[in-house]
Amino acid sequence: MTGARGVQWLLLLPSLLLLALLLGLPLAAMLANSLQPNVLLSFTGPALDNYGYLLSRSYYLQVILRTLRMAAVTTLVTIPLGYIAAMLLRRLSGRAGNLAIMGLTFPILAGPLTVVLGWMALLANGGPFLGPLVAAGLIGPPNLLGSETGVVISLVQFVLPFAVLTLYTGLRQIQPQLHEAARSLGAGSLSGFLHVTLPLSLPSALSASIIVFSLAASSFISPHYLGGAGQLTLTTLVTQFIMATFNAELAAAAAGLLLLLMLAAVIGITAAIGRFIRP
């Protein structure tokens, strides 16, 4: 037995090493870099001054807050939408269900850049959808391009398939008879969902929330093209530090902050949803 287990660890070793090498090393290098002096600040030896600099200026605090707000709103909008889609998906029979899953994953296949370019056209005040409405005087110019709302709309679209697939997998593990049992005991569709389906699917809702929040907080393409310089997030801020101000140390510190905030968010989400998960 012990020998067999030893062999198992041995077999696992290459992938662990690869992971340490490909993920751990660059992360470590980035974090090390974030502790180095930069052109704006004069300090000697590794210190947290870069972080202090970012955290002491209200402009950067706003960027951090915006990043968290966008990710949180995206999560709060996506999870309910994901539930609806996953529950509809579960009712579909074999072939229809497969087709629906294929359709759902198409945006992932197409790649985020392609889809975001589409959103740029669509969300423009003179775009093919909003343009006629504005021209007809039905709505005022919505000015979605360059707004937080525009970014969130495209983020929701980007992360939705991940949420649906995660929730769908979770919902499929719930015995259909449980819902029928609830109904036979007098629960309508809504109370059946609230008392049976929802609590039993919480573990997958937790996974989906973590995935969605992380994807939204770390996304670059949507805030870059749809938010622009007026709606900087931590990812676009990192790019500005690298490309515009050539400040690699501050860029590393901003990225480090993003990493820390995402870790904190994962812990927060797990604590918030995990309280409701029963054995």
Partner: protein
């Protein structure tokens, strides 16, 4: 009066008719078993009664009220699932109290009802456990208690005992019957197990291919089957095919080998292809000629199968292969393969059914 009436209920799925013009009346306080082989439509019938399947045609009434189109949550029908379907995230007490909670009963009333239901199924003190911490038999009891806690007008059970081991199954048979009688509740149980149906039911409805074959008390189902299907499905029978020679109170059937059999049957026509069926345990096998039996033939014992409580003999007689089941008791003669003997059966035990 909680009386359930199904009239001409039909349910078609793409390609086949699962329930075909099915009519059934379950009287107040009666225990009815729907019995049939898998795929006979018994579970679909149960799901139609519960409201999880719609009836394409026909009508259901419960207590005189039409429930054909009522959603399941408004039918007040307690349902016990084959898989029990206990809520894994709720304690035993929460499971049992769920139906009352959905009905908006006050907390104290629910707690009292849960205690009462736990006592009814003899699980006092286990209310705080989660279903996974219970044995299969205990889970079964919780499922029953949960269905009964809402004081349903009708109790439905879908193969409730099929996941239990043999000994526990017999115990739960008596337990379910005891509880049903003590509450006086009208109940319908679906099963493919004839022993279960015979032991538990006031009346049995035998189904095949979506149709009702016979509805009667267990003894009638067993002793006087209405159709060849019921005769072959309940118990084990010798089946012989021939043509009717004469009809009447005692009909005569001629087999291809020239042998004739005396028996009884309805709707027989002279010359029509007909099947004779005799239950294995109604066959006599003895060394002396059984003169009192209308059907008797000299035979040779071909095979002996020891079954513990009884012994099955496969015999060859006048071109027929017949099985006789004799009690394993000193009063009955014992035979070995190769022995010659007499095999016989009474005309009243020989049922003729038109093919």
């Amino acid at each position: 009066m909680p009386e359930l009436i199904l009239s001409h209920v039909t349910r078609r799925f793409s390609g086949h008719t699962a329930v075909d013009d099915f009519s059934l009346t379950v009287r107040d306080g009666e225990f009815v078993c729907l019995l049939g082989p898998s795929g006979c439509g018994k579970t679909t019938t149960l799901r139609i009664i519960a409201g999880f399947e719609r009836a394409d045609a026909g009508r259901l009434t419960l207590d005189g009220a039409d429930i054909t189109h009522a959603p399941p949550q408004q039918r007040d029908i307690g349902l016990v699932f084959q898989s029990y379907a206990l809520f894994p995230h709720k304690t035993v007490a929460e499971n049992i109290g769920f139906g009352l909670k959905m009905r908006g009963r006050p907390r104290a009333a629910i707690a009292a009802a849960v205690e009462e239901a736990l006592a009814l199924v003899r699980l006092e003190g286990l209310g705080g456990r989660y279903p996974r911490a219970l044995s299969g038999g205990q889970q079964q009891r919780v499922a029953l208690a949960r269905a009964l806690a809402i004081r349903p007008r009708l109790l439905l059970m879908d193969e409730p005992l099929s996941n239990l081991d043999a000994q526990l199954r017999e115990e739960m048979r008596n337990e379910i019957r005891r509880i049903q009688k003590s509450l006086g509740i009208t109940a319908v149980l679906v099963t493919h197990d004839q022993a279960e149906a015979l032991a538990m039911a006031d009346r049995i409805a035998v189904m095949a291919k979506g149709r009702l074959q016979q509805m009667a008390d267990p003894a009638t189902i067993y002793e006087a089957p209405a159709t060849a299907f019921v005769s072959g499905f309940i118990g084990q029978a010798n089946v012989l095919e021939g043509r009717v020679e004469s009809t009447g109170a005692e009909a005569v059937l001629a087999l291809p080998g020239g042998v004739t059999l005396a028996g009884r049957g309805d709707g027989l026509a002279a010359g029509a292809a007909t099947r004779a069926m005799v239950k294995h345990e109604r066959m006599a096998l003895c060394r002396a000629e059984p003169a009192q039996l209308a059907n008797r033939f000299p035979c040779q014992v071909a095979e002996r199968t020891y079954l513990g409580g009884s012994i099955a003999y496969r015999c060859e007689a006048a071109g027929m292969t017949l099985t006789a089941l004799l009690p394993n008791h000193p009063l009955f003669e014992s035979f070995a393969p190769g022995d010659t003997a007499w095999i016989g059966w009474a005309a009243t035990d020989c049922a003729f059914f038109p093919c």
